[in-house]
C-alpha cells in the first residue's frame, strides 16, 4: 500500500506545496471548462432548466469513488491514510442549509466563485468578498455556540457503518443512485428547459456502463481484510516484530504513561473476565475479537504524540492485536513485553494480595491468583512511577504521521 505518498518527507515542503498547487490548477481548470464560472448556469440548476451542477458534481463523486475503492481493493491505496471528513451531524446539516440559501442568492459556491473571479466575472468578485466576510464573521461568532458546533460528533463515520453494508455494495448502490438521478435530471431538462435529449451524446451510455462495470469489480474484490493487508505489509513490518523492537518493557510503559510529552493509550485485549480480575490502571478493555470494530475510533482519537500499547496476559494475543493495528495503519503501536504476567512480576512482588501460581504455560494463561476481581484497585495496577526508577532500553519512537489532519476544507 504505497499510496498516498508521504509527500512532505519524500520531497520536502516546497515541492509538496507545488504538488497541491498543481492539483488546485487542474481543479480550477476543470471547474471553468464545465461552466462553473458562470452564475447563471449554476443557478439554472435550481429551476430545473440546466442540471449541469448535479451532473458534474455527482459524476465527479462517483468517478472518484469507484477509482478510490478499486485502488483500495487492489491494495494500492490505504483507505485509513486518506482524509474522510469526520461527521459532526447537525453543524453539517445546518451549515449545509445556510449554504444552499447562499448558493441560490449569490449564484456560486466558494470553489466556483474563485474561478468566476479569476475570469473577471464581477459578480464572482463580489461573491468572494462576501464569502471572506462570512468566514470572518464565523470566526468571530463561533465562541457563542462552540459546544453545539463540536457536538453530534460521530468521528470517521462512513455510509458503510451507517447501513452496515460492505464497501462494494455501497459503491454499487451510489453509482446506481447517481445514474438514476442523471436520468431524472435529463427528463427535468426536457420538461422545464426544453432540451432535446436526442441531441445528447451517445457516449454517455457507454460511460455509465463502464462505471457500473468498475463498481461491480469493486463489489467482487471487496475491501481487503486485515489479514490480507498484513500479508502485504509483513515483509516490511515483521522484522521489527522478530527483532523485538516493538515489545516495550513494563518499565518503559510506566515511564511513558507518566511522560507528559506522550499520550499513551493502553489497550487491554484480554477477555473482560481477566480484565476485571486485574488490569493496569487507565488501560481500556477491548477484547481481541472486538478490536477490528474499534479501529475507526482509534484513528479518530490519535494525535501526533499518541502511542498505542496493546496488553494481554502474555504476548500472544497482544501480538495478534499489534498485527491488526499495523495492518490498519494505526501509527505508533507497541506490545507490552511479557504482558500482564511480566507487569505483575515487575511491580507486584510486594503486593501480598496477589499470589503467584506455578506457570501453567499454554496460550494466554495468567500466572497469578487474585482474591477478588478488583480491577485496577491493586497496588500493582498503578505503581508510582517516581518510586520505580527502573532502567530500560527505550524502544518507543514517535513516527511522523501523514498530514491528513487538515482535511477537506479545514
Amino acid at each position: 500500500m504505497p499510496f498516498p505518498l508521504p509527500l512532505e518527507s519524500l520531497i520536502g515542503k516546497p515541492l509538496m506545496f507545488a504538488v497541491f498547487g498543481l492539483i488546485g490548477f487542474a481543479f480550477g481548470f476543470v471547474l471553468e471548462i464545465s461552466g462553473f464560472g458562470n452564475s447563471k448556469k449554476l443557478a439554472a440548476q435550481f429551476y430545473f432548466k440546466d442540471l449541469t451542477v448535479l451532473k458534474v458534481m455527482f459524476t465527479a463523486i462517483i468517478v472518484a469513488m469507484v477509482l478510490i475503492f478499486s485502488a483500495v481493493g487492489l491494495g494500492w491505496l490505504d483507505y485509513n491514510a486518506i482524509w474522510v471528513n469526520p461527521t459532526y451531524l447537525w453543524p453539517g446539516i445546518v451549515g449545509g442549509l445556510i449554504m444552499g440559501v447562499g448558493f441560490i442568492i449569490g449564484g456560486f459556491c466558494p470553489g466556483t466563485s474563485l474561478v468566476a473571479a479569476a475570469t473577471a466575472k464581477l459578480d464572482g468578485v463580489w461573491f468572494v468578498l462576501g464569502g471572506l466576510f462570512g468566514i470572518f464573521l464565523f470566526g468571530e461568532t463561533e465562541q457563542y455556540f462552540d459546544q453545539w458546533w463540536n457536538g453530534s460528533y460521530y468521528g470517521r463515520l462512513t455510509l458503510m457503518d451507517v447501513f452496515g453494508l460492505p464497501t462494494g455494495v455501497v459503491v454499487v448502490g451510489v453509482v446506481l443512485m447517481a445514474l438514476f438521478m442523471f436520468w431524472g435530471g435529463e427528463q427535468l431538462e426536457r420538461i422545464f428547459g426544453g432540451r432535446n435529449l436526442a441531441q445528447e451524446p451517445k457516449w454517455r451510455y457507454g460511460a455509465a456502463a463502464a462505471l457500473v462495470a468498475v463498481a461491480a469489480v469493486v463489489l467482487v474484490i471487496g475491501s481487503p481484510t486485515p489479514a490480507r493487508k498484513w500479508t502485504w505489509l509483513a515483509p516490511q513490518k515483521e522484522p521489527a516484530l522478530l527483532a523485538r523492537q516493538v515489545q516495550i518493557s513494563a518499565a518503559e510503559l510506566l515511564a511513558s504513561q507518566a511522560d507528559d510529552a506522550l499520550r499513551v493509550v493502553t489497550l487491554d485485549v484480554r477477555p473482560e473476565r481477566d480484565y476485571n480480575l486485574f488490569h493496569i490502571r487507565s488501560a481500556q478493555n477491548i477484547p481481541l475479537a472486538e478490536l477490528p470494530a474499534a479501529i475507526p475510533e482509534l484513528h479518530a482519537r490519535q494525535a501526533l504524540n499518541t502511542v498505542f500499547v496493546v496488553v494481554s496476559n502474555d504476548e500472544q494475543a497482544a501480538t495478534e492485536a499489534w498485527k491488526l493495528l499495523t495492518a490498519e495503519s494505526v501509527p505508533n503501536a507497541y506490545i507490552l513485553e511479557g504482558g500482564v504476567n511480566q507487569w505483575i512480576a515487575t511491580f507486584g512482588g510486594e503486593d501480598p494480595a496477589i499470589r503467584a501460581t506455578p506457570a501453567a504455560g499454554g496460550y494466554e494463561t495468567i500466572n497469578y491468583v487474585f482474591p477478588a476481581a478488583l480491577g485496577d484497585r491493586y497496588e500493582a495496577a498503578a505503581p508510582n512511577p517516581h518510586e520505580w526508577d527502573l532502567e530500560y532500553l527505550p524502544k518507543i519512537k514517535l513516527q511522523l504521521q501523514r498530514d491528513k489532519s487538515g482535511g477537506g476544507c479545514g
Partner: protein, 199 residues
C-alpha cells in the same frame, strides 16, 4: 489536461514583430469556446479528485483556504485577538502560520487554473452574469450577501461544496452525504422565492 477544446488561433502568424505578444488584442480576445459536456467535465473532475486522494491523501478544498487567508490577515492586524479566540488560535496561535497548510496552494492553484482555462477558451471577459430582471448593482449586492451566507455556512459545516460534498462524497463519509442533501434542500426551498433574481 487534454480537453476537448480546439484552439482556433487565427492570426498567430502575423508579423507585427515589435509588439509583445500579450499586448496584441487577439491574445486576450481568443474566440469563445463552448463549455465541455457536463458528464465529461464531471469525469475530468472525478479524475482530479481521485488523483488528489491517491497522491496526497487529501481531497480538494476552497473555503478552508479562504478561511486561512482571513485568519492570516486577522493575525497580522490583531494578533492578541487571535490568541484570545479559541477557534482562531487553532490555526494561528503563537508562532503558527495559518498559511502553512495544503489547502492554501490548492486555492491559488484553482485561481490560476480558472484564469488560464478562461483565457484559453475566450471567456476572460469583464462582465456580470445575472437574470434579465435585476440590475447589475443589485446582482452585486446579492452576490455579496450570498457569498456571506456561503462563507458562514461553509465554516459551520467544516467545508464547502469541494471539501465536504466532493471530497467526503467520494470517500463515502456519512456526514458529507447528509451535508450534500442539506445544501440542495436549502437551495431548492428558497429558489421559488428568489426566482426574480435569475429569471
Amino acid at each position: 489536461m487534454s480537453v476537448a477544446v480546439q484552439p482556433q488561433t487565427g492570426s498567430q502568424s502575423d508579423k507585427e514583430g515589435r509588439t509583445s505578444f500579450w499586448k496584441r488584442p487577439d491574445f486576450w480576445k481568443r474566440p469563445e469556446q463552448p463549455y465541455v459536456h457536463p458528464y465529461l467535465g464531471g469525469i475530468l473532475l472525478g479524475i482530479v479528485l481521485f488523483l488528489a486522494f491517491f497522491i496526497t491523501g487529501n481531497g480538494l478544498g476552497a473555503s478552508g483556504g479562504l478561511n486561512r487567508l482571513v485568519v492570516a490577515v486577522e493575525d497580522m492586524v490583531a494578533p492578541q485577538h487571535v490568541d484570545r479566540t479559541a477557534y482562531l488560535l487553532k490555526m494561528a496561535g503563537g508562532d503558527k502560520n495559518p498559511l502553512d497548510d495544503w489547502v492554501v496552494p490548492v486555492v491559488f492553484g484553482a485561481l490560476a487554473g480558472g484564469f488560464v482555462s478562461g483565457w484559453w477558451s475566450g471567456r476572460l471577459k469583464r462582465e456580470t452574469n445575472k437574470g434579465p430582471n435585476i440590475s447589475v448593482r443589485s446582482r452585486w449586492m446579492f452576490a455579496f450577501i450570498g457569498g456571506g451566507l456561503m462563507g458562514y455556512g461553509a465554516r459551520m459545516a467544516r467545508g464547502c461544496t469541494s471539501g465536504q460534498a466532493l471530497s467526503g462524497g467520494a470517500t463515502l463519509s456519512a456526514g458529507s452525504w447528509a451535508f450534500m442533501f442539506a445544501v440542495f434542500a436549502g437551495a431548492y426551498a428558497i429558489a421559488f422565492f428568489v426566482r426574480k433574481l435569475w429569471n
